[in-house]
Symmetry: C2
Subunit: 160 residues, 2 copies
């Protein structure tokens, strides 16, 4: 009993609702669940800030890193993102296909490519940085400046 293929739509992304009257038991005392909930909220805000642009957090991260470290190799890029080399390659392909970066042979090492932003990539990144930072600030507005700093510090400590 075949179903017709579904037309693809961009992902909707459900927020994690705190269901009233439910007992969350030990979850409320675990850092893991708290982190997950906070992350989903921030992720949703990220999407709102970059609506229309075909961007995701890993793609944004990759562009920022390439922008700040011109000529970085794809393996190092993968490490920053916590993904395998093959994934870093696909990310680089994606950026290159949109004319945001270009690969340049490294003179000293014929195996590796350096990834560099194009002028177009520079421009897009500047605009994206602006809106993402503004959104992050807006999102964090429920916290005082001191609380925000403290949160960043504690997260950094926890990440190790």
């Amino acid at each position: 009993m075949k179903r017709p293929p579904s037309p693809h739509r961009p992902r909707a992304l459900a927020p994690i609702a705190r269901v009233a009257g439910l007992d969350y038991d030990v979850l409320d005392r675990l850092l893991g669940y708290a982190l997950r909930r906070a992350q989903v909220g921030v992720f949703l805000a990220f999407h709102a800030a970059t609506r229309g642009q075909d961007i995701t957090p890993p793609r944004f991260t990759a562009l920022v890193i390439v922008g700040a470290n011109p000529g970085i190799g794809q393996s190092a890029l993968g490490q920053v993102l916590g993904i395998a080399r093959s994934g870093a390659m696909m990310l680089t392909d994606w950026m290159e296909a949109r004319g945001l970066v270009e690969r340049r042979r490294r003179p000293n090492d014929g195996r590796s490519w350096g990834v560099h932003l194009t002028p177009r990539g520079e421009k897009l990144l500047a605009a994206m940085k602006h809106s993402v930072v503004a959104q992050d600030r807006r999102r964090a507005a429920v916290l005082s400046a001191a609380e925000r700093r403290e949160l960043l510090r504690l997260l950094e400590k926890l990440a190790g």
Copy 2:
């Protein structure tokens, strides 16, 4: 040029390394990236604590919620996890197939099922809770008790 199909192995899961000598630019000032890094660390620790058991954070969450709210429906379960109904169903299938929960018809509403832990599920959950909580405490040991409480508070506030 066909390749032989790869035998499947359990996922390795790369940590997010902080690459020395790299400029992280604006990422160091964004809550989103800090959350991501912290979450990956906690996720890795979770896996270490549940090694051998075929458990993941969503599966653990589902078991805890069912345990604390016997007879909960699958839609509510999906809301807690931030996933669609179909996903909650597959999670329930997974738990049921392992004899951890059972579905029981609700008397008042013939549409919905209540999900309940089996004795086997109770026992496994108790053991899992113990090791996951212990691991969370261990992971959080880089923080003082006050810092840990403060982090939970700030994350909760941020999650909204």
